[in-house]
């Protein structure tokens, strides 16, 4: 009896703690985003972060995009050819990429490449008391460290997703038309015919939300990490896990609005 009571109590405690953390994270995000209009404007640090998270993730996004487009074309062709509709290979590849795989895969890669480093960096800055040092020099660490990273994530992820889409489309075309022998004109014509502005809008909207989400979660986790080596390691793992799951959950929610 005592054991069951304890177990139920533990569940309750975990739920309360999670809700408290969610509230804390929301307040943290709002407090940080409010600094967007605060002076001095952290332009130089923002550019540095764009370089770190955006340009830094470029190569992995291009490689992932190319192989995603290629495998979609290969897989799709062998499914569609069974029912004689390989003419629809173009829209198959394009819609899968633009609506779903582009935003989600690019975001997951982005979490692994940029998100983890953000959490680790901020965590270590806390361990080595760099945040306090910044404050001593009358620099608001929330504006210089947190805000620049969140905004850099929110701006660079949509750009990365667009690059992912374009690379994937070309790779899919290469495999579909050059290797598998689908008629090139039909491939392009059907793609242009079936893909609408709403699809592109859905993909880009998703990526903006994903960018904000990754930025906020990773900076928050770094900021609230226990200031020890172990604490930073734990926070980084948790940030990556939480971001990956949240990307998929939010993806489902946004998709249901865009059908």
């Amino acid at each position: 009896m005592e054991g069951i009571m304890n177990m139920v109590g533990q569940v309750g405690r975990n739920v309360i703690q999670s809700v408290a953390k969610l509230g804390d994270a929301t307040l943290f995000a709002l407090a940080t985003l409010r600094l967007l209009f605060a002076k001095p404007w952290q332009g130089k640090h923002f550019v540095m972060q764009m370089y770190a998270v955006g340009v830094g993730s470029l190569i992995i996004v291009v490689i992932t995009g190319a192989f995603t487009g290629m495998v979609l074309a290969l897989q799709g062709y062998h499914m569609l050819v069974k029912v004689g509709t390989e003419a629809l290979l173009g829209p198959w590849v394009a819609l899968s990429l633009i609506r779903e795989l582009g935003p989600v895969l690019a975001a997951l890669m982005f979490v692994g490449r940029a998100g983890s480093s953000i959490t680790a960096e901020i965590g270590i800055m806390r361990v080595t008391e760099q945040m306090d040092a910044l404050e001593m020099m009358a620099v608001n660490p929330q504006a210089r460290v947190m805000l620049t990273r969140i905004i850099a994530c929110a701006i660079s992820l949509p750009l990365l997703v667009a690059i992912f889409d374009v690379v994937g489309l070309f790779a899919g075309y290469l495999i579909g038309v050059e290797m598998l022998g689908v008629n090139g004109g039909v491939y392009i014509g059907e793609t242009i015919d079936k893909v609408g502005m709403i699809d592109i809008q859905a993909g880009i909207t998703k990526s903006i939300y994903f960018g904000l989400l990754v930025g906020i979660i990773c900076t928050y986790m770094g900021q609230r990490a226990t200031a020890t080596t172990e604490g930073v390691a734990k926070a980084t793992t948790r940030a990556v896990m939480l971001c990956s799951v949240m990307v998929l959950v939010v993806d489902y929610i946004i998709t249901s609005f865009y059908l």
Binding site: V55, I155, L159, L160, I163, V166, I192, Q201
Partner: protein, 150 residues
């Protein structure tokens, strides 16, 4: 400072490539700035819209010449469609329109059958004659019915 200048350059290139990718997707696939921006509008009244929607193609001799920009109910009994026809495409005033299907189970489109008159439809004009969608169920029931009477 030169190190920072270099970073600035690289970030600039990255942003430009990204924005160009979005623009390419929107213009090439999304059809932004294509049809719809220039052209003229004509109206057609059908007994049955038969599945034509906003965005369906308008074809003349099998070539896309415009798009359906609205399908609305008129006087609670007829379907009124507005087409946007590309600039430079001339449709004779006695041309007729019909609703057809691409392939056997493909999507619906509007077919314009060119007329022989010398004067052409202009902005806001209405087609004189329309032919509604061919309903396959009606055709089949007609066929079965005619078989019974023999």
């Amino acid at each position: 400072m030169s190190g920072y200048k270099k970073i600035e350059m690289v970030v600039g290139i990255f942003v430009l490539v990204g924005v160009m990718s979005i623009a390419w997707l929107a213009v090439e696939l999304g059809g932004v700035g294509g049809l719809g921006s220039n052209g003229y509008k004509v109206i057609a009244i059908f007994d049955d819209a038969g599945g034509v929607r906003t965005g369906s193609d308008v074809m003349l001799a099998g070539v896309p010449v415009g798009q359906v920009i609205s399908v609305t109910l008129k006087d609670n009994e007829e379907a009124e469609m507005v087409f946007n026809i590309k600039e430079g495409v001339l449709i004779a005033s006695d041309a007729t329109v019909s609703i057809r299907t691409k392939g056997l189970i493909g999507e619906k489109f509007v077919r314009v059958n060119q007329g022989s008159e010398e004067d052409y439809l202009a902005e806001g004009d209405e087609f004189e004659d329309t032919e509604s969608a061919i309903n396959i169920e009606d055709l089949i029931s007609k066929y079965i019915f005619s078989g019974e009477t023999k």
